[in-house]
């Protein structure tokens, strides 16, 4: 959600800060959460080797698309703004093209964490509650930190690189944590 605040700062200079911008931005993030959860649930039930490949694919997609956002986000938004006269179409293309894939990829790890805990004896309901509880607390921390500390003191472009760095570190830790010995299958 902290990334969503940054995304709004990226979009505003190109498309304003009207309710139309927020509607597309929030819907895109929710769609990404939704599809990411479904894909993550599917990956979590794969055998260990393809599951590991799925996790690596998720990491690659997240890192590459976050890097594209950090490096070329403003350039891409400028091109999209020029290419589409209709604001809603431009916003749809912008949100799908720039924010949808990284958020989908990151969201796919939630169900995998649930599966990880459940496979180690935690009841599925409790595992799900812990993962989504912790995830929501993380979102709150991300929003507050971004709104009250990061945006007031740092450039948005700097924060996008920071986001990329944090994503690389946390995904590396996560894939190590979720790793299942191939022989265990």
């Amino acid at each position: 959600m902290g990334f969503q605040l940054l995304a709004s700062r990226l979009l505003n200079p190109h498309f304003g800060s009207s309710i139309i911008v927020w509607a597309w931005l929030i819907s895109t993030f929710l769609a990404a959460f939704s599809i990411g959860s479904v894909v993550g649930g599917w990956i979590s039930n794969l055998p260990p080797r393809p599951r590991h490949r799925g996790q690596l694919a998720g990491i690659l997609i997240a890192v590459i698309t976050l890097a594209i956002t950090a490096l070329f986000g403003r350039t891409l938004l400028g091109l999209i703004e020029g290419a589409f006269e209709d604001v809603s179409t431009a916003l749809l293309v912008s949100c799908l093209g720039i924010f949808f894939l990284p958020v989908t990829a990151l969201s796919s790890f939630g169900p995998q964490c649930v599966q990880f805990l459940a496979s180690r004896g935690t009841p599925p309901g409790k595992a799900s509650g812990v993962v989504y509880g912790v995830s929501t607390l993380g979102n709150i921390a991300g929003v507050m930190l971004t709104a009250f500390v990061l945006i007031p003191h740092f450039h948005v472009s700097t924060l996008l690189y920071l986001w990329l760095g944090v994503a690389v570190a946390s995904l590396a830790a996560l894939v190590r944590l979720l790793r299942v010995p191939i022989s265990a299958s």
Binding site: N12, P13, G16, S17, S18, R74, F148
Partner: protein, 303 residues
Amino acid sequence: MKIIRCCLGVTLFSANLIAADFVETYDTIYNSLTVERRGDLVELRARARGSEALESAVDLSDPLKLVVPYTRSLFGALFFQPKPQRVLMIGLGGAGFHRLFTAAYPDALLQTVELDPKVFELCQTRMEFKSTAKTPVALVDGRMFVKRDKQSWDWLILDAFRGGFVPPHLKTEEFYRECAARLSERGVFVSNLHATSELYYSDVKTLQAVFPQVVLLGVDGRGNVIACAVKYRTPVITDASQWPEVAALANPVFTGRLDLVALRREQIPIPTGRMRSARVLSDDFAPVEFLDALKSNNSDRKK
């Protein structure tokens, strides 16, 4: 007779109802607004941070009267572009500025951009503003309009407040450059600033990063400062003694409503001392809400 008396009573009651004082509140897509009528005075106020900021006011008995002091200072643009034919105003409010402007310059185009449709509706229904071919109103984000509309303007006025502050994307160096590109050769960019927080120093520094010359007009007792900026270096506009004579700018409708002599004396210095530590606002760095929350003592605002 009884029927006539009854009809007369209903008519008088209806007339009284139309002219009656009222206080109405509206939660629109973008604002929380209060519209209050007391006698002939109608005020439009924005509710934010536990208080109400006066956005606009109109005296229906004299609609040309500039009720809110800062709207008078917007006419300071006359000192730098005395013959406005094409004016773009970002932010409608209650159209307090519009009525005197159109009366003074009936042939000029005053294009307004307003984001909130409800503000436009209230402006028409409660504050009796009538949009005409000379005063069109576009319901769109101000920056979007400036980007997409390729016309040039003699005056470009930025007065777009949302709940007491200007949205960050209308405060940046990049946006000011877009505005500068839309000014005619001798055009003037006018911005309504609040000199009550640290944001003010970043605002002026950002204006100076884009416009070679910036003049500040301090509105007495209200915390508003009207910044006038131009994209040329000569002739010099920062020296008030070089400004056109008031007599040359006079207009019959200004009499009793706009004191250009007093307006000429409103120039205040650029707060260079406090601006040293301020940062230029850009699309990449515009913590407008944060800076606006840092209240300033404005010790160097007055001469």
